[in-house]
Symmetry: C2
Subunit: 439 residues, 2 copies
């Protein structure tokens, strides 16, 4: 398989990528397809993703298509028939959005769910086929932009089993995740804990009497918790995610303490007691040996320092509620490759200062909007009392294609339109939602 | 004008009505049209209604039509083009429901607004034309059902300028209002204060530069307050109602005290400070010499004691949020007249025990539903914070005919279908709204 494009316009351009998650590898693929000489450094011994299922909305679907890996991803994943929301307490149906022909026509893509490690493998193989160098056991520990006369380059310190050494490139993409090393060069901030914890689990779907008919992405939403279920791997596996508010976390915070341990199995054992039996009965299927404390970071208004740019979770880790964290990183990857190639096509040469400026002009407002909306979206899922009942009625009122109006900004996005470059205000929360976020 | 029906099936039946408000006079009209000998006693010196504008939804429209007073009521009132809700803080449009041909087809009637005293005058004239005796300065102070052999009658003590005397009839309808004297024979309950107070006012519309284009019923809803505006008297008058939460009331309650005075002008002067200028600027137009402390009562599960039945506000005073208090009393009036006539048509004689049982079997669940939903509806208008923003989005989502599904139970009601007799559960709040009411 040779995925390199005929129009290999970045031929000869040297690019370093720090981090071999979905975002970094996607960038390696997208840029190698444009002809760039890509070196990707991943500190782990192998390319793997923690977690289980991953949702790829139509905004991600179109990039998989563009990169030529859609068919193989679809074959490894699962195409749900719809997304459904139910009230976690009553079990009542609230909303169902069908991923049918109308959806595909409207969004230019379908909705795919796939095992994180399967998608990563597919992207790694494709990036290598396109000519990118992907190296394990190498960590980028530092980087700086250097000027030598008219020549600007980025020099990165990398560390592997042989020790430290330097590598040079025209640009460095820091896709090194929410705990990014390179972000520290920009700001000394910390992840913002949401106080919610996620448990995940996969189990055999075929033998699961209660669930074997499941064909949808099913989300139960309720006070202080939610629970997501969908098939994976052609329907062989059931993927489940239980997310709940940690009382231990908030109790400690309220007492002015830094919470020691939170989201433990003990908390899990009571987290769904107020929920419908169809949720409670599924808690046993979650893995108990590992849990994820959900955090994001405050949006950052600059991702670029010389020839270093933060991208993916290093730049804009969101909460998970819009199921778009991985797609955002893929959008970053597609955006930088396309904007660079567009620039070369127009000007006959590469100009990274200009390209990185354009990338962040597009991507910062887009990702800020997803980060802030993600927080709001989580709050909306976890409402209790009167707000919960009104939320339920709203969901019922817009069930079906009535939902499109809330999803269009997210799912119809195409970085090639440069919509946020043209109008950065698109990155702001809509006026009518500000009260929700602000209060 | 002779409004007596040809099918005067209640000929010779003697009926006493206590209270000459819209409900009592409607009952006098409806029963006199069926041929009954109606005596109505009103303690005041004249038939008049306190307050100003009154909204008559299509559920009331059809009764005015049935009683032959629709045209004269429409000529005295105003037919708004639509009902609109706006957010009281931002001033933003939330919802608009047009009273157009589709509305009229769907609900079998239009939406009328009319001055309370104009409607009462029209009903008084029509009731007298139909042969009812309507007497002022007479108060029904007590009543009891008496059995003499097979003969059952109700004996009422009435008091006028000459002192006390007794009158007899086959049945007594207690339409004596929220502070009903006769309700005390059933239960020793008290009105339930909502802690909200209403200011009203009418002013000349034509000279009112900011408002002269108004053709709709316009409601601003916001945290702890709302503000209603609509034209009256063929558009000559502007009717305004400002309702707000009295801090004095709730502060006193929180301190375990019985609030002395609440809802004063001083409270009014700050009640809309958080609202949009288009609301704040209208407060000056409200009457300051009088205000109404809004109360309802708990639903009662029996309205009938021998031959005495509580109806109208004496039986089921609602909060004003569904704008149906007067129509509920008109429904009671139409219901008792029609059920009595139906019984005679079927059985050749009147049987008041049976008829009153059927009336309350129909009316109690219907009115209970309006009372409980009215409380919920007020809470929904006055939401703040996140619940307000979700409510706004819900209103936007169902703007237009999407609203029908919430109004059908209220506005498509026809007592002749005996829907609540057949299914008393219709009187319960829908399952999905219980959480709102309960919390």
């Amino acid at each position: 398989m040779n995925l390199k494009e005929n129009n290999a316009s970045l031929e000869g351009t040297r690019i370093i990528i720090s981090g071999g998650g979905i975002g970094g590898v996607s960038a390696a693929l997208a840029l190698a397809q444009k002809g760039a000489a890509v070196e990707l450094f991943e500190k782990s011994a192998e390319f793997r993703e923690v977690g289980a299922g991953l949702q790829i909305g139509p905004h991600g679907w179109r990039m998989l298509e563009q990169w030529g890996v859609l068919d193989i991803a679809v074959n490894a994943g699962y195409l749900p028939k719809a997304i459904q929301f139910r009230d976690a307490v009553s079990g009542d149906d609230l909303l169902r959005l069908s991923f049918d022909e109308d959806f595909e026509r409207h969004y230019g893509g379908r909705y795919l769910v796939i095992h994180r490690s399967d998608l990563l493998s597919i992207l790694v193989d494709a990036a290598r086929d396109a000519g990118a160098q992907l190296l394990n056991n190498v960590k980028v520990v530092d980087a700086a932009t250097e000027h030598e006369g008219d020549c600007v380059k980025v020099k990165a310190e990398i560390k592997d089993q042989h020790g430290l050494r330097s590598v040079e490139a025209e640009v460095l993409l820091a896709f090194d995740g929410i705990h990014s090393t390179l972000r520290k060069k920009f700001i000394s901030d910390q992840p913002v804990p949401s106080g919610y914890v996620a448990y995940r689990g996969t189990s055999s779907l075929a033998e699961d009497k209660g669930m074997s008919e499941l064909e949808d992405v099913l989300g139960y939403i309720g006070p202080d918790c939610h629970f997501i279920q969908y098939p994976l791997r052609c329907g062989e596996l059931l993927n489940q995610v239980g997310v709940f508010r940690s009382k231990n976390y908030f109790d400690a915070i309220d007492n002015g303490a830094v919470p020691e341990e939170w989201g433990t199995n003990k908390e899990l054992s009571v987290a769904y007691k107020h929920c419908h039996q169809s949720v409670q009965s599924r808690v046993d299927y979650l893995w108990k040996d590992r849990w994820w404390k959900m955090s994001d970071r405050e949006p950052l208004d600059n991702w670029k320092k010389g020839r270093i740019i933060l991208l993916g979770d290093a730049a804009h880790p969101p909460l998970q509620y819009l199921a778009s964290g991985a797609v955002m990183a893929m959008e970053d990857a597609a955006c930088i490759a396309d904007y660079a190639a567009d620039y070369v096509a127009e000007n006959g040469e590469v100009n990274w200062d200009h390209i990185l400026d354009e990338v962040q002009a597009e991507r910062i407002p887009r990702c800020t909007r997803i980060q802030t909306t993600g927080r709001f979206w989580g709050d909306l899922w976890h409402e209790s009392g009167r707000a919960r009942a009104i939320r339920n009625e709203l969901f019922r009122a817009v069930s079906g294609t009535g939902w499109y109006k809330y999803a269009d900004w997210l799912w119809r996005y195409d970085h090639r339109e440069r919509a946020y470059v043209k109008n950065p205000d698109l990155g702001k929360m809509p006026e009518e939602l500000k009260d929700i976020v602000g209060s």
